[in-house]
Each structure stands twice: as C-alpha cells, then as structure tokens.
Symmetry: C2
Subunit: 672 residues, 2 copies
C-alpha cells in the first residue's frame, strides 16, 4: 500500500478517509488519551462501507430497517464518532468531537449506546460486539420471517479486531452464526497484526480464515486500503448464503511514524508525529478542520439512504393500522395490554390450587401463558432446555428452515447466548430470555454487566439457584452469585418463593424497558406461600410482609426464594413458644431499596430481632440486618459460609444448618 499512489488514483476516497484519520489524530491529541491507530487503519474500509453499502439515513438513526453497524473494536471509538459527525448525525457535532473523552460529552472513551442514538451497542470489552451482532442478525431473521422482506430486510456489519477474535466469546458467536447460517451478518476483520503487547504473533498463530470456515462461514479478503478491493469483498460477502468474514489487511496508524507498531495502537499525541502524518495524507488543514467539499461529500453519503427510508415508510404505511401498531409496540418494547390480566388470572389460579413445584417449573407455567400473547419473546437455553424449563409449546425452534421459530438451542455457550440476547434487545422488536444454571452466571458475566450498563431488558433464567440442586456439588452450586448479581448496578435480581411471586417477577421483567432481570429459580419443589390471592403485584415492592406476628412482634424473619417456606415454618415453631414473628419475603432487593423510607420502615420496623435466611453467603445482607440508618437491631444470618458439597439436597440443607429449627434457635438466642 502506497499512500502517495492511493492519493493520486483515488483522490475523493482518500480525502474522505483522511478526514476520519485527521479528526482521530486531533481528538486524541486534544484528550491526551484514546486510541489513534485503529481508526487510522480502518478508515478506508469504513469509508467504502458507508459510501457504497451501509443502508442508513444519518438524519433518522432509529429507522427500524436500517443496516446495523457495530464497532466491536470499541477502543477505536473515534472511527464511529468521525463517521457520525461527517455524515451529519444530529448528536455528534464538532463540539462533541472536540470534547472527546470529557465529562458530559457524548463522545465517551468507548462508544455508549445510551449516550448516542446512532450507536447500536456499547463496545469496549473485546469480543462483545461480534457476539452482540449475532443477536442483531437473529432478530432480523425472526422479524423478517414475521413481517416480510418489505418491512425487515437489513444487514449487520461488524468491525472486529484481533482482540475480539482472541476472546473466547467470539468462538461462541462464530459457531452460533455459522450454525444458523446468518447470511446477513458480515464481519470485517481489522487484520493489522498488532496488539498492545506487540505483534499478534507473540500470542497467536491462528489461521482466522480457516477458523471461520470451520464453522461454516464464507471468507473473503481484501487490501484494507484499496477502495475497489474493499468494495468487491463487501459485495461478495453480501451475496453469500452464510455469514461472511472479510479479512481486511490493514496497517494500524497508517501513514504515521507509528504505523505497524503497538505504539500505534494507543494515543498518538506527539506534535511532530501528527504533523508528519497529516503531511503524508496531504491534509493541510487545522485541527478539527474538514474542508467544505469533503464534508459535503460525506453529508451526501449521510443522506444517501433517505430515499430508501422514505420508500420503506410508504411500504410500512400500507400495512393495516393494527399491524403498524403492533410493529411499533414491539419495536418500542411496550407490553401488550393483556399481559396484566393474564398474570392476574394465573396468580388467582395458583393461589387456589397452591401447587408444590420448583420455581423453575413455575417459570415455565408463566411462560406458557405469556409466550402466546407476546409474540416478541424469544427464548433459549445454553443446552439445559429441560432443566431450565424455558421451551414452551407454542414457540417453535428457530432454525434455517423455520426462521419464525422463537426458541434457540444456543449450545453450551452461556456467554455467547447472553451477548446475543443483548444484541436482540438492542435491535428491538424482540424480547429475549435465556436459561442456564445460576452458577454459570460466571460464564455469562461480561455480557450480563453490559445488559445492565446498556439498560437492556434481557431476562436471565437462572435455575438451580443454591445447594438445593444437590448432588452436582460445589462447582454447580451458586453461593456467592446472588451477591455478585445484586452488587451490579441496574440489575433486578428476583428470587421468587413460589409460582405467584414467579409470575409477578416475570411481569416486572417483561414490563421493564431499561433494566435486565435475573430469575433465580429453584431446582427443588417449593410449597405455595401466597395462598391468599392479591391482584396487586407485591413483588414490585421488592419486599413485603408475607405473614405477620401473632401477638407481640418480637422477631422478623427475612428470606428469599426457597428459604421463605423455611422462615414460615420457623415462624410456626416460634409462635408455638409464644414468640411473635413476622416473615418478610424479599424477592427483589433492588426494588425494595427503591421504595420510600416509610414503606421500608413499615416492613422492617426497628425493635424486633432480625434473622435473615438464604442459602447463599451473607455478603450484602447486613444492609437489611443492621436496620435503616444504623438503628440497633440484634440480628443473625442463617445461610452458607463457604462452598457447598455433593449430596442430596435435603442432606445439604440439614448439614449446612439451613433449617427452620436453626432459624428458630437463632431467634431464641438473640432474644435470650
């Protein structure tokens, strides 16, 4: 690749790409931090993609049928900010570019979906973007099957770096996409041979083309600085009937003295280096200056899709009013009106029949009534369908020959599943839920955190939520996972006690627009504790008085999930000894913390001793044991002190001392 040659043969292309490179150098210099080399290396590919292929309308970044562009290598954020500014995005102004990485700016260090409308997904943790993209492409398939090509027909383009491809989640994503033949997914690999520590070869010799082919992808390659070659490769990828990977041979930090070095990966702030690079680009303009003709050409690209969008709008308006409404409802994430009455009816029935079932089974009973009335739900499991109880009768299995199917066999890929669910939620029109054992929240953790950060209402169905799973032993028994999940901002962790609380939790998860939900569900059967029907969703308050003290209130028992019935049993024992005991069910700490102080005080008044019981570690419980504002309460915790063990569940509860007797004894010790 000879820059001088390219400047001569493709002056228009060159200048458009140079604008990206120059803005990147200027913004990183101004911020004195960031990553210059990636945008400088991928500017040509991005320019060709935007100019020739990407279906978008810069003034309408929420157009539902736009192509999705995902910068999986999120550290190269100046690439996407430059593209947005140049094409005329309303939010990313030149001021925003100047304020790159500053407090309050939309141009954060890594692209954040919640700061910029046109940014499809937050990226930065490597490998997430390419795995999100699988979800975007899946959502497109399922919506196209439902609405037809006239309404839904778009591509998902990804720029991924070496880091994305080294992260294990990329393998899960690649294998999923290959299996599902997601032909509208096109990954452009920024093959620059450089990572932070040095050359890629220091740590990797993988033949990436062969790796992708092994999972059923079509593979193309191009000189990542030759616009015709890039165009040819993208055109070919679009024609493939499988997902495509384009191996783009690029030079990181192109045209600078840091080209092809790991130095070029980071922040290039040396004045001379910047001046020399701009000289090489033939870019005599001042910092943040883009000449009018180049800006105009970019703005023309930005409005290139306006006509297609208008055509789409016309087609959309030919749908019946009810269909339009339904499409808009699903894209907006609103729930159907019937949801509330459906949940209420189920609750009523359950309070009457009072079944003794595992809450994973309860969850299935809820899904059996929800899925038929919410066509936007999309379920799945990481190879534990029969254990997670996630597949209901009406969904149909999503597959190459059944794109309308709403259930995916994700395989043993908790991380890939979770990242794909983020992608589906971000795409819109689909409300994903997926199951695994709760202990494997560990595998899904990077994606779960991003659900919370990105404010996406993904539902994690996590069964086998304690030592109650029994014989599989400590690797499979979560003890610290409730704490881990509760510590995460913006995540509602539900641990329902019975079918009724499970139904309430699902209602809350499904009506959320900006908070992911975890359903911590038991393997073992649990009695119905809510035998009196209430139309009100009590779980919405996070915690509530399930059974109050008879006589003088001397103790409060707090419990969640499978231990609520343990607390109720302890209450009976204590009442038999004349110790008035209240039981508070706490299915969702986060929602309880959001109630006003007076409600919290009514539920947990000062005075009585407090005992919490949960088959997990104590970590975090002191928040509720110690009382509001440090008021004194004698308190104790009955739960786990370390890892579990392999034995039948009943034995484990007995051996680890999580029993009604232990709870009652604990209360009596505090009172004595």
């Amino acid at each position: 690749m000879d820059i001088a040659d390219l400047r001569k043969t493709h002056p228009d292309h060159w200048n458009k790409a140079a604008a990206i490179r120059a803005l990147t150098l200027d913004a990183v210099k101004e911020a004195n931090s960031g990553h210059s080399g990636m945008p400088m290396g991928m500017a040509d590919v991005a320019t060709v993609l935007y100019e020739k292929h990407l279906k978008f309308d810069a003034k309408n970044p929420t157009w539902p049928d736009r192509d999705r562009f995902i910068l999986s290598a999120g550290h190269g954020s100046m690439l996407i900010y430059s593209l947005l500014y140049l094409t005329g995005d309303a939010e990313i102004t030149l001021d925003q570019i100047r304020n790159f990485r500053q407090w309050g700016a939309k141009t954060a260090g890594h692209p954040e979906n919640f700061l910029v409308t046109a940014i499809e997904t937050t990226t930065g943790p490597l490998g997430q973007g390419i795995a999100n993209a699988v979800g975007f492409a899946l959502a497109e398939e399922v919506l196209r099957a439902r609405w037809g090509k006239k309404i839904v027909d778009h591509h998902t383009y990804v720029i991924a770096g070496d880091g994305c491809l080294m992260e294990g989640v990329s393998q899960e994503a690649i294998a999923l996409a290959g299996r599902q033949k997601l032909s509208k997914l096109i990954v452009m690999w920024d093959n620059n041979g450089i990572t932070i520590d040095g050359k890629v070869a220091l740590s990797d010799i993988t033949d990436q083309q062969a790796r992708f082919k092994a999972s059923g992808w079509s593979v193309f390659e191009c000189d990542g600085h030759d616009p015709e070659d890039i165009d040819r490769a993208i055109t070919a990828a679009k024609a493939a009937d499988t997902p495509s990977m384009i191996d783009c041979r690029t030079h990181i930090a192109l045209g600078s003295s840091a080209q092809d070095t790991s130095k070029g990966h980071g922040a290039l702030t040396d004045d001379q280096l910047i001046a020399d690079a701009k000289e090489a680009y033939g870019w005599p303009y001042g910092p943040f200056e883009v000449p009018g003709d180049v800006k105009s050409q970019w703005e023309a690209i930005g409005s290139r899709g306006a006509e297609a969008r208008a055509d789409w709008q016309q087609r959309f308006e030919k749908l019946s009013a009810s269909k339009q409404g339904e499409f808009e409802r699903m894209m907006s994430g609103d729930t159907p009106k019937r949801l509330a009455s459906t949940i209420k009816a189920l609750k009523k029935q359950m309070s009457e029949t009072a079944p003794k079932v595992a809450t994973r089974k309860s969850s299935e009973m809820v899904l059996e009534v929800i899925n038929p009335i919410m066509p936007e739900t999309f379920g799945g499991s990481a190879d534990l369908t029969g254990s997670n109880n996630t597949l209901t009768g009406d969904l149909g299995v999503h597959d190459i020959d059944n794109r309308a199917g709403r259930y995916l066999y994700y395989g043993i890929r908790e991380h890939g599943m979770s990242s794909a669910m983020n992608g589906m939620a971000l795409h819109g029109g689909v409300r994903p839920y997926g199951g695994t054992f709760m202990t494997f929240a560990d595998y899904a953790r990077p994606a779960m955190r991003l659900s919370a950060l990105m404010r996406q209402p993904v539902t994690y169905v996590m069964t086998h939520d304690s030592i109650g799973l029994g014989e599989d032993g400590p690797t499979h028994q979560p003890v610290e996972h409730l704490a881990m999940l509760r510590a995460t901002p913006n995540m509602n962790v539900f641990r329902p006690a019975d079918t009724i609380e499970t139904a309430e939790a699902w209602e809350l998860a499904l009506t959320s627009k900006s908070t992911p939900a975890v359903m911590a569900l038991s393997r073992q059967g649990l009695p119905t504790v809510r035998k009196e029907h209430k139309t009100k969703n009590l779980t919405a308050q996070g915690a509530y008085v399930l059974a109050d003290a008879e006589g003088k209130r001397m103790a409060i028992l707090m419990a969640t999930g499978s231990e609520v019935s343990v607390a109720l049993e302890a209450r009976e024992m204590l009442h038999a000894e004349g110790i008035g005991t209240r039981v508070v069910s706490m299915p969702c700490w986060e929602l309880f913390a959001q109630q006003d102080e007076s409600y919290r005080k009514r539920v947990l008044p000062a005075g009585p001793v407090r005992v919490a019981v949960e088959a997990g570690v104590r970590f975090g419980w002191d928040q509720w044991l110690s009382g509001e504002r440090g008021r004194a309460n004698k308190s104790a915790f009955v739960g786990m002190e370390g890892f579990g063990a392999s034995a039948p569940a009943e034995t484990l509860f007995e051996k680890f001392g999580i029993t009604a007797e232990a709870v009652a004894d604990s209360v009596k010790a505090l009172l004595s």
Copy 2:
C-alpha cells in the same frame, strides 16, 4: 462398532472396559443421579490410555513426573472414579464408589481435586479442564527446561466433550497451546454427537478438526471403541511436535437402549435398561462386583509405572542435596527463606523514600525484588503488560525457543490465562500470576471461582481498579467487582493503599498455599501513607489503625486502596475543626474477618460515627459500618452508586463526590 464382535476379538480389553461401564451404571443407579453415558462411551479410550500410555503409579499419585490425566468433561466423574478404584488407588475404595454423590464421600458429583489426591483438577464447569491442561503443559515445559528431561518429562492427557469445545474458553486454550507448541498436550475429544438438548448438530456444525488445525494442532482420529485404533492414534499424537487432538468417534451410553441419545447423557436408572446393557456387555456380575481376574488386570496396569517411578526416584536422588531441596521446596509451594527479609528491606526503603506512584507500579517494584529470589514465579498478562506492570527484567519471555522463560504473553484471553494459571498451580513447581484490568475479572470469573474452590494460590494482578482509570469510561471502570470478589469464599482481595501495603499483600499472596489472591491496583499515582517503617506485616491483620484520633475519638474513617489517602486528608480537615478522627486502612477484609473479635473491636470500637470511603459500590460495606453484633453506629458511605463515566480521573472523583471534603462533610452531618 459391533459389541459382539469386539467382545470376541478383544476379550481382555472388553472386560476391562466393561468393568468401568458396569460400575458406572451401578453407582449412578445407587445414587439415583449422575451421568452414565459419558463413561460408557469413553471407557475404551480410557482403558487403552491407562493400559498402554499413561505414565502413573496408582500407589504414588503425587509422583512429580507422572503424566497428568484431566477429565475435562467432569460430569463423567464415574469414569475417573472407576479408573482409580480399578487400578488400586488407596482413596477410591469400593465403598466410595457405592457412596457416589453422598455426603462425606470422596466420590462427589464432579471430581474435586481437594477430595481425592489423584484427581489433578476439579472439573464440571465445561471447558475448564482443557484450559487447565494448557497450564499443566506449560508448567511441564518450564520445569523441564529448568530441571532437565531426567527429572521432568511427562504428558498431559485430556478427555474433552462437545460441551468443552463449545465453551469459548476452549478457543483461548487451543490458540494458546498451538502458539506455544505444547507438544506434550494431548486432547482426546469424546465425539459422540450428543448434548443435553439433543444432537450436537442442533447447535453446532463446527468442523473441530479444522478448527484445531487452524491453531497449529496436529489432529488424529480413531474409532473410539477399537483398542488398536485408539492405541495407534495416541502413539501418533505422542510423536507430534505440536499439541494433538484425537477425534475419538464414540457412542454415548454404548450398548444400552439409550445409546446415541441425549437421554443417555444423564442418569440411567431404569432396571431393565441396566440389565439389558450388562447383558450386551456379557457382564453377569452383581452390582459393584468386578471379577477377580479383571480387577487383577487393572491392578497390574496400576502398578505398571512403579518401576519408572523408582527409576525416576534414583535419578532424583543423584541430584545434589541442595537441588533436591530446592525441587521439593518449589513443588510443595514453600517460599524461600529470603522472602521475608527482602520484603522488609523494600518496605523500609519505601517508608524512607515515600514515593508517589500508582500501586500497579508499586506491584512492579515488588516483583522486581521477588522474581529474582523466587524462580518458581511465572508471570504474564492478557495483552496489557505495560499497563499491568507484570513483566520484570529477569523473567525472560516464555516461548518455543526459550522454555525457561517465565513470562507469557497470553494474548487477549483473560479466561484462558486464568484457567491456565489454575493448571500451573495444580501441577506444582510453578507459582503463577497474571494481569488484566480489574473490570475484566468478569471474563476470568469462572476460573477465578475455581482457584478459590480448588484452593490454589494463584495471584490475579488487577490494575485500573476504579473510576481512577479515567477516560476509558464505564465499560473499563470496575464498581461492583470488589464486592463480587469479596463475596467469593476463600479469596483474599487485597486493595493496598501504597507501595508498602502492596509489598505486604504480595508477601501474603506468595506465602499462601491454599487461597488465591486478587491485587486490586490503581492506575493513578498514590502517596505513600505508611511513612513510619514497621517490620510487622500489618496487612496480614486485614485492617489496622493507620492514623489515630487526636483528642477525643469522634469518628472512624474506613478506606481501602486509593481512598486511604482521601481519608487521611479528611482526617486533617476534621482535626482542624476539633473532630478527633481515626483512619483505618482495610486492605483485606477477609483477613480482618479472620482476626479475633477483640482485635476487630480495638480497630473499630463502638461509639464513634463511621464513614467508609471506597470508589466502588456500597454493597458489603454494611458489615463494617453496622458494627460488631449490631451495636449502633451512625454511619455513612462515600463511594459509587452506579456505573462510572468517561472523563479524566480527577474530574470523576470530583463529580462522583469521592473527595476528602465529601468525607469530612459526611462525618459532620452524622455528628450534628
């Protein structure tokens, strides 16, 4: 594969393998849970491996130069328990087999390294075993380079299932092993085409042979039920100069009516099915009965390696006494005597020079003095060497042509790195540490939990431990990670305040034999807070009085890491206003919790108001804010309430209100 044919042509082999199958059926039936199909499918491969290849001496399971056998598909635990019982392992008796999955038995649902000496690693969470194995093989390489082939020269064999290969961590492991040409690593893939949800093809079409080849592995295949073919494949794999994968075509639940079905994956407990399967095996014996001749043949296999072990012992004893002592010291995990004095000397120097450096830099300063005196350390980073400050001058980079090198460029593979470190620690002779950004503890999480469960002293160097990293923004800023790690049993989470606490933390991490350590280290420079030299390791107490109140003690400030200096500054402000304030540095909660109650009360006496300051979420802090046994303390927390943001670090501390002023104001509000 025709069973009748195999029984006829290879009666001895057949019966040995049938013993595994029958014991599996009996144990799972007795436990009424477990996984029958995998041992039934892989019995032939395991039999040939043990009979013809595995270098081991059943009576000496800790022989340092034994081959390592890792059952990555840990749910098939009856395979390894059967092999141990049959070959004459002292711990796995027939009684243990009968008590499979029961309380107190060594035969847990999944194999646990801490229950059975001969079990090299805990497996069950899929993909971990194959990733551990990379660490075992790396440890073997580095030790062979140091001690020579006469002392260290063994293979690492892995049985991995489809689930292991679907998990992303397997890709990280495969790529690492391929890059490092770990030719003594041999993976036997149980290619049975079945997962829990059904056929593998439901969720995967990956050509695994091509995938492994793409990362530089040699690939072989065999009929997994034909002993000659298996032998041929293993022999060929041993001769390869790269890591090898053997594609073993097997039938899950071989010979039963559940063969080749997902039902066969689980617990086969139907009496008729069991009777029919035993009939097909030609196995007329009662439950748990192994005829004497078959047991004798297996025991002969178990003692096959006794001579090789005795030869090894002779070679070992030819080493000088000091070399023998050093080898045994390193294998046992004892630290060299010089460690204590080296740490003390560094502490003294640091308290005198009182540098203002980031604790990630402090950590490097410590490693610079430790690595030269501890040849067993093995460092690395997941592509953040220059940021994690993990590479010291003397280590040398581990590579194909420098097997003595003690530093590995792991690539962008936090999970693979962490699993490999577990493998190294389990192998013995190597004490691994590895770096990444603390927020990417998320990626490493499944392996970190296993370090804790398996009681392995792996050290996680986690830099950029708060919003103090600045512009990279919320994806890179841990806020809930301290809580997540502290909630995990048996994990020491150190967050040192300066170079001296960092040195103390490293001393504790390096002298631990059964608890992993996390070093939460700052990106930003921190002043030295321990200006008075103390030879005693104060961090060993977990928390201690760093600066006491002048005059009446009215407030206690608790802080960790970068916020300790914030607390000290607040103390100055409060003293200026006559408010006597104690500052408690709490570098390790876990160690503080292990102190006796009287020490904890001396450090945190009842009475004064308490304010904790930490640039993370409050979750978990109420344990210390609420006081021992619920004694009343007015208290407050200064920290994060949600995710961070992208801006310079100083701006973020200011905007999120984590400042000395905010701490002082908080104390005054509590006192007013």
